[in-house]
Symmetry: C2
Subunit: 212 residues, 2 copies
């Protein structure tokens, strides 16, 4: 019996550093496949279809929505972004864990479709710290920072829908903690997919000569 | 609001190496208090009451049993051994995690009294490997090894009552995995004891100036 993979969802307020944590966690942990999003926006130079995104035209994307083939989707300006369920399911059925990094609205949509996923909330050490990061990274206007901090109250309240909270006070510690969560979840008895003897086939073979 | 501690129970078949893993895990992870057993056997040279064991006479021990003050107990030859509940509760209420290393029969007793504990099953990579370890450590007679391997089938089946399985194929990996489980459990939303805002007081203070 092949072990099924686990969907890990890394999420948190805007600017909390979840992208950086995702990249470092992927480098650190073996056997985790990053989820690939679908989008209607045009590929940028160097972007490869099926690696960076699944690039789709608007009508193909709307078909995915209509046929309920997306774990979540959102419209950003004139473009659509979403998470194709098939790619996630395929990897999980092959025993590979899948990592999805997404904002909180997206994570709540995913949770409705795959409640068995493991939802990790990356939290800022404080609101001041988050404001400071948004200002320092320089991607955002003063007004957009204000709107984001207001949205942050609602976002922080959504933590109750998650399984784990990882404080991003120090990047290395946060990455180690996410790695620990992945390692721990892989050892959970309910995730081992063992036979009725509750022992894996290699042990079973050692024990009474018959695999499960 | 003070976070409550977590009881971690490390358990597994005889000879699987759980004692070695327990010692290494205690050195590696901060803030974990080893559970101290009570016993009616006499202290050996160098053993300190309240550090190595709580040394009790038989009538005091039987009082603990009668008053249901032990999480588990067992008689080994003419001596009694048990886990005083008060010591565990005190540490947990002070926010300290407690580590209890115990055989499988004991772990199942503890689970009945503290089902909220985290139960970690240390498993041998194979039965041959376990037999080999029992022979190599030289503490056991051929007959007792045979009895132990027979008991092992029942013991392996009890894994279904546990939360996690850690294979002890390689000591360092097993210790890292136990550490990961402890770190992950500490990040679980349900273990954070957060107020109704679901955000901890430091964040809350940063956010709206009022602690929870």
């Amino acid at each position: 019996m092949t072990r099924k993979g686990i969907l890990f969802v890394i999420s948190g307020p805007s600017g909390v550093g979840k992208g950086t944590i995702r990249e470092a966690a992927l480098r650190k942990i073996n056997g985790v496949q990053l989820s690939i999003s679908a989008t209607t926006r045009k590929p940028r130079t160097g972007e490869v279809d099926g690696r960076d995104y699944f690039f789709l035209d608007a009508s193909s994307f709307k078909q995915l929505i209509d046929r309920d083939l997306l774990l979540e989707w959102a419209q950003v300006y004139n473009n659509f972004y979403g998470t194709p369920r098939q790619f996630v399911d395929q990897n999980i059925n092959q025993g590979k864990d899948v990592l999805l990094e997404i904002d909180i609205q997206g994570a709540l949509q995913v949770k409705k479709k795959m409640p068995e996923g493991i939802f990790i909330f990356i939290a800022p050490p404080s609101l001041e710290e988050l404001a400071c990061r948004l200002i320092t990274r320089g991607k955002d206007t003063a007004e957009s920072i204000e709107v984001r901090l207001a949205a942050c109250k609602w976002e922080m309240e959504q933590i109750k829908h998650y399984d784990y909270r990882v404080l991003n006070q120090d990047l290395d510690t946060a990455v180690d903690t996410v790695s620990s969560i992945i390692i721990a979840e892989r050892c959970k008895i309910k995730n081992l997919n063992m036979g009725c003897d509750m022992i894996d086939s290699s042990f079973n073979q050692g024990f009474n000569g018959s695999g499960e």
